[in-house]
């Protein structure tokens, strides 16, 4: 009895049995809860299913074509691309500066790092509610600051005048030029399409900058110190060192931050859903909110699934890029 128990244990501990046994539960769970719904989403997108039932008539690619014909869908697609690209461009630049500054040691670094991490750690839905108040139509602190003398007692300085002086001019291209700000009628951040778009982009950049920064810091910290010395010997300093030494070495890890940032922004629904619900007049709809409006509010499950599945090809490309970066890093 004892010997057969021993043998059973030996078999159990053999690698080719034990490893799959330990991995299987996680894999089964993931296949059930990610794989199945993904297949189900693809199936739904090929049927005319509505909220009442999971099955519908097979309609082929009609949902994909129908939703494409909708003007709102194309705006949603365009907005998704614009929000993602512009916010990630802002993130890369800001995180680059921040990481270079934070990699050094200085007094009070822990506290400053804590402040910088706040946007990433706080639940997005809740911080977006905070922005609802910051961009409020009557009590917006942004507008208050713009239209009041911010050095009371000192020289009279009204920020909106500086902005008007700089940006409300003819020589700017349309995207940058603004109409003059009037204190009596301050900007309606969430009520005017372009301002609402700007607000959404800023919130996305705001919440992803901390994430990109910490990843950049990890990359900078992992650079071997010999490289610094070698660069010094060769006389590379400042911008030249950044361009010829730091930048190429940091490219893979920066790419990781960028790819995650793209996924987090393009697939997010929370910021837009809480801030504008796609308004005003559907001007800030993105693919995810439009899928929600169509599939849940409009009960057209098939079309909703088709809308969200337009996200799948770009996601697949991002995944492939990530694997490519990972392999490249491993080789070097």
């Amino acid at each position: 009895m004892a010997s057969s128990g021993r043998r059973w244990q030996d078999t159990f501990e053999e690698r080719r049995f034990l490893a799959p046994l330990l991995i299987a539960p996680a894999v089964v769970f993931i296949v059930l809860l990610v794989g199945t719904p993904l297949v189900l989403a693809i199936y739904l997108s090929l049927t005319d299913a509505t909220a009442g039932s999971l099955s519908g008539e097979f309609v082929g690619l009609r949902n994909y074509l129908d939703v494409w014909d909708d003007e709102n869908f194309r705006r949603a697609l365009k907005n998704t691309i614009i929000f993602t690209i512009v916010s990630q461009a802002i993130v890369l630049v800001c995180a680059g500066f921040l990481a270079h500054a934070l990699v050094r040691n200085f007094r009070g670094k822990w506290l400053l790092r804590f402040f910088i991490l706040l946007p990433w750690a706080a639940p997005v839905a809740l911080s977006t509610v905070g922005f609802l108040w910051i961009f409020h139509s009557l009590y917006s602190v942004v507008n208050w600051t713009l239209t009041h003398d911010i050095f009371p007692g000192g020289p009279a300085f009204y920020p909106y005048r500086a902005i008007n002086w700089a940006f409300a001019r003819d020589f700017w291209p349309g995207a940058i030029q603004i109409s003059p700000i009037e204190p009596i009628d301050p900007p309606q951040w969430l009520g005017e399409p372009h301002l609402a778009m700007a607000a959404i982009i800023l919130i996305h950049a705001w919440r992803i900058i901390p994430f990109a920064t910490v990843i950049f810091i990890a990359g900078l910290a992992s650079m071997p110190p010999e490289i610094d010395d070698a660069a010094k010997v060769d006389g590379a300093t400042g911008l030249r060192k950044f361009w010829y030494v730091t930048f190429p070495l940091q490219l893979p890890i920066a790419l990781v931050a960028l790819l995650f940032g793209i996924v987090f922004t393009a697939t997010d629904i929370t910021v837009v859903q809480v801030l504008t619900q796609g308004g005003p007049f559907n001007s800030t709809q993105i693919l995810t909110t439009w899928a929600y409006a169509t599939g849940i509010n409009g009960a057209a499950l098939g079309e909703g699934a088709a809308i969200s599945l337009y996200l799948l090809p770009p996601l697949a490309i991002v995944a492939i890029l990530m694997l490519w970066v990972a392999r490249k890093v491993e080789v070097t």
Binding site: E13, I23, P25, A26, V27, F29, I30, L33, V34, G35, P37, L38, L40, A41, A51, L54, F97, R104, K109, L112, R113, F115, I116, L118, P119, A121, A122, P123, V124, A125, L126, S127, V129, G130, L132, W133, H136, V141, I209, P210, V214, A218, F260, T267, D268, I269, Q273, V274, T288, Y292, I296, L301, A305, S308, L311, L315, L323, A326, V329, E330
Partner: protein, 276 residues
């Protein structure tokens, strides 16, 4: 002061102010009275009539279901953390130790599922949840949330177990311990930091998650914080901005503190494994 640290302050300082400003503003707003808040003549950067006050916090805890929402989120969080550990710990260990080349591929495959976003899956899952009669029940969230906590946690733990030298286990095995014994007595005590990271990560994801909670649950008593605050506290024309800001601030600060403490582990999770 050295020139380099001065430069650091000049860059980091303004960023810290801008990035943390919304939270400072939530705190200010949550401490102001209605008379102060809705008086357009007042300077909003200082406390005026009847302020500072804790009335907004009183209102939040006494007149709304906020405590219930927090409780719901914590319940879901604890159960999800449990499920995540049960699934991810053995898988992460096995992927790091016991399997060769194909283990690497399974690991990468598991990680890739982390990239499949809830916004792609919420429509079919909403049907499945209502077919299972789980609508408006916390079980729906408990069932679905591990689908994004398990992949990342497995990946994170895999990276972590790789840093524990296998010789430690081999020594225990030579001393006559079974593999299970070596695991529980040698490996797991060493991996407490990794386990804690997974706990915090999964817990904060549960606090963060919005779209499943919004779709699966529509009655106030079973909502979680993230979906309850934007839907239940913002309704109709009456906004309780002071209470709203208190509601957003309360979960944010502890989560940020925890994140800060475990920052380096998270970075290893996102960049580690393949990027070492």
């Amino acid at each position: 002061m050295r020139r380099e640290s001065l430069l650091s302050y000049l860059i980091v300082g303004p960023f810290a102010i801008v990035l943390a400003f919304p939270f400072y503003w939530m705190l200010m707003t949550s401490l102001r009275s209605d008379n102060d808040l809705y008086d357009i003549q007042q300077v909003p950067f200082k406390f005026n009539a009847d302020s500072p006050t804790i009335n907004n916090y009183k209102f939040l805890f006494q007149e709304t279901d906020y405590l219930q929402w927090l409780g719901n989120t914590v319940i879901v969080g604890v159960v999800v953390v449990g499920i995540t550990l049960v699934l991810a710990l053995p898988a992460g260990y096995a992927l790091a130790r016991l399997s060769g080349r194909w283990g690497q591929s399974v690991g990468v495959g598991i990680f890739l599922t982390y990239l499949v976003p809830p916004t792609l899956l919420f429509l079919p899952l909403s049907r499945v949840v209502s077919d299972l009669n789980l609508n408006d029940r916390l079980w729906s969230l408990i069932l679905v949330y591990p689908s994004f906590t398990v992949p990342f946690s497995t990946w994170l733990l895999m990276g972590f177990f790789k840093t524990i030298p296998p010789e430690l286990e081999d020594a225990a095995l030579v001393d006559g311990a079974s593999r299970l014994g070596a695991l529980t007595r040698v490996v797991f005590p060493l991996s407490i930091p990794g386990i804690l990271t997974v706990v915090i990560f999964s817990f904060s994801l549960v606090f963060n998650e919005f779209i499943y909670a919004l779709t699966f649950i529509s009655n106030s008593e079973t909502r979680t914080v993230s979906s309850a605050v934007p839907t239940e506290l913002i309704r109709g024309d009456v906004f309780y901005w002071g209470a709203l800001m208190a509601a957003t601030l309360i979960p944010a600060v502890p989560l940020a503190l925890l994140y800060n403490a475990f920052l380096n582990r998270f970075i290893a999770g996102f960049t580690g494994g393949a990027f070492r």
